[in-house]
């Protein structure tokens, strides 16, 4: 294997784990840009819904139906959380909301631990993604990892279409920018905020299921993922969906490269050193909005 092929292999490997970071980062960004709240429960919510999906798979014995059903459950769970838990503290300072999300983190962690226990479980992979690895040149990728990248791209395309080409998407973006003006033009802002949480939870659930499929299903599986996803979101710019994708992928690839060329002991550290350096040069992240306006 020559040097370029080795590099390409690491990029591909990094891109697949990075795709999971990107998906979870997207979920974080979707809530942040509309409410300025970082949802620290994002990872545990994804983990919890993945356990629900495990239960579905057990009883339905069909992966994709369970996959779709879980997304639906997560969607409504996310919306319900916004209405029942976040809305009552919405008027208070943002820090209150953030503490509430930390509370939700603890709630979902404990619930999952109590209900499903500490032992990791094998999460079934869909048949279509369990075949032999695919090799192009001398770069190899497992079908599952390829599937993860494809699913991440599909989510990205769907959300891009929603935000940029639909009236609903325009209304969601308007709500994120100026809730009062949005209400005055007739947008139901409360509904948009609930919808933001619902979509975010649904996207997070996909991230959770993909994580479980590539590792194992366990209560703590999202802890490290959330940290990297968060790093990816910040690297990309916390209010930019495109930034979340690029940031998440970037973190995954940096991690893989650092693990290969330096040492797997320092992959995390090396990735973060680069992130910190980027943020020093561009405090709003790679795609973050620099606030330019005349007053």
């Amino acid at each position: 294997m020559d040097e370029f092929e080795e590099f390409a292999q690491q990029v591909v490997t990094g891109a697949s784990i990075g795709s999971i970071y990107a998906i979870v980062a997207l979920a974080i960004v979707m809530i942040y840009r509309s409410t300025s709240v970082v949802n620290f429960a994002q990872g545990e919510l994804a983990m919890f819904t993945t356990f629900i999906s495990w239960s579905f798979i057990q009883s339905l014995d069909y992966f994709w139906a369970s996959f779709a059903l879980t997304i639906l459950v997560a969607f409504f769970l996310g919306g319900a959380l916004e209405v029942l838990v976040m809305r009552p503290v919405e008027q208070a300072p943002h820090l209150n909301s953030i503490v509430v999300t930390l509370g939700l983190l603890a709630v979902f962690n404990s619930l999952a631990f109590w209900r499903y226990g500490p032992v990791p479980r094998a999460f079934p992979k869909p048949e279509i993604l369990s075949g032999d690895p695919i090799t192009v040149g001398s770069v190899t990728i497992s079908q599952l990892n390829l599937g993860i990248i494809v699913i991440a791209l599909l989510i990205m395309a769907a959300l891009f279409g929603l935000f940029n080409y639909t009236k609903l998407g325009l209304a969601m973006r308007a709500t994120a920018q100026n809730p009062v003006a949005s209400r005055l033009v007739g947008i139901n802002v409360s509904r948009m905020l609930a919808l933001g949480w619902a979509l975010s939870a649904a996207v997070g659930a996909i991230g959770g299921m993909l994580t479980a499929a590539s590792l194992t299903l366990s209560v703590d599986m999202m802890v490290a993922i959330l940290i990297f996803a968060f790093a990816g979101a910040v690297l990309g710019g916390l209010d930019s969906p495109a930034g979340a994708i690029v940031g998440g992928l970037g973190v995954g690839i940096l991690q893989a490269l650092a693990g290969n060329y330096i040492s797997s002991q320092v992959d995390i550290m090396a990735a973060f050193v680069i992130i910190i350096a980027v943020l020093m040069l561009r405090p709003t992240g790679l795609f973050g909005r620099r606030v330019v306006r005349r007053v």
């Binding site: 009236k167 325009l170 209304a171 973006r173 308007a174 920018q177 100026n178 009062v180 003006a181 949005s182 209400r183 005055l184 033009v185 007739g186 947008i187 139901n188 802002v189 909005r289 330019v292 306006r293 005349r294 007053v295």
Partner: protein
């Protein structure tokens, strides 16, 4: 016709309106004058649904609207140009105007109204693709008015359109407000600090003091009355 009867409202424990009654006849312009904190903006916020009255009645053409949410009220035909303009600064001028018509579904009508807004404010056509936050203050005010017009309202509420603008720009904006009212018979309620300016375009004037109407007369009488000018209007 827009009618407020003994409207009370508060922000938490702070009373903002203590029994405001006023009327804007169909096709007319009325103005609400008063010092800072007199309740001018709160009156408009109560009408548009952003502030819910604790008692009193607000009616649009005989229909009670004081318990409705803003997103419902704009669909009934009341459009507010809020204090400080509140445009969508990250969106383009075009997107801002499109959002103004959010509550409507008649594509052809929206397209016609866009042309209409551009005819009142030609500069908005030129700046159509520009980020709204980069417009000058005067252009932003024009955009805020244009956005409100895109909802094709029956009643237009204007909150301090002169705020922070150069006198020349203010004069231009008031000329257009007057023109819109005359050409389309759009019922207008104007809140303004600059009393002489407001009384110049309005037919009726209300003076607010600590949350209630202390004086109400035709704009012409208010303009002429020396004692009124000295004690309430400061010009």
């Amino acid at each position: 016709m827009l009618k407020l009867q003994d409207v009370h409202a508060s922000y938490g424990p702070v009373l903002a309106l203590r029994g405001v009654s006023l009327e804007v006849p169909k096709g007319g312009i009325a103005t609400v004058l008063g010092a800072n904190g007199a309740g001018k903006s709160s009156t408009l916020r109560a009408i548009s649904g952003l502030l819910h009255p604790s008692s009193g009645v607000i009616e649009l053409d005989g229909q009670r609207i004081d318990r409705l949410q803003p997103e419902r009220i704009v669909r009934l035909g009341i459009s507010q140009v809020p204090e400080g303009r509140q445009i969508f600064t990250d969106f383009t001028v075009g997107e801002n105007l499109r959002l103004g018509a959010y509550a409507r579904n008649d594509r052809d009508g929206v397209r016609r109204d866009l042309e209409r807004v551009f005819s009142y404010f030609p500069v908005l056509r030129e700046r159509r693709g520009q980020t709204a936050g980069l417009l000058s203050g005067g252009e932003q005010q024009m955009l805020a008015i244009g956005r409100a017009l895109m909802a094709r309202p029956r009643v237009l509420l204007l909150d301090e359109p002169s705020l922070g603008l150069a006198p020349l720009v203010v004069r231009e904006i008031f000329r257009i407000i007057k023109a819109i009212n005359e050409e389309e018979g759009l019922t207008t309620l104007l809140v303004e600090q600059d009393a002489s300016l407001a009384l110049g375009v309005a037919q009726h004037g209300y003076v607010l003091e600590t949350g209630s109407v202390v004086l109400h007369d035709s704009a012409e009488n208010l303009r002429r009355d020396d004692s009124v000018r000295r004690s309430y209007l400061g010009f």
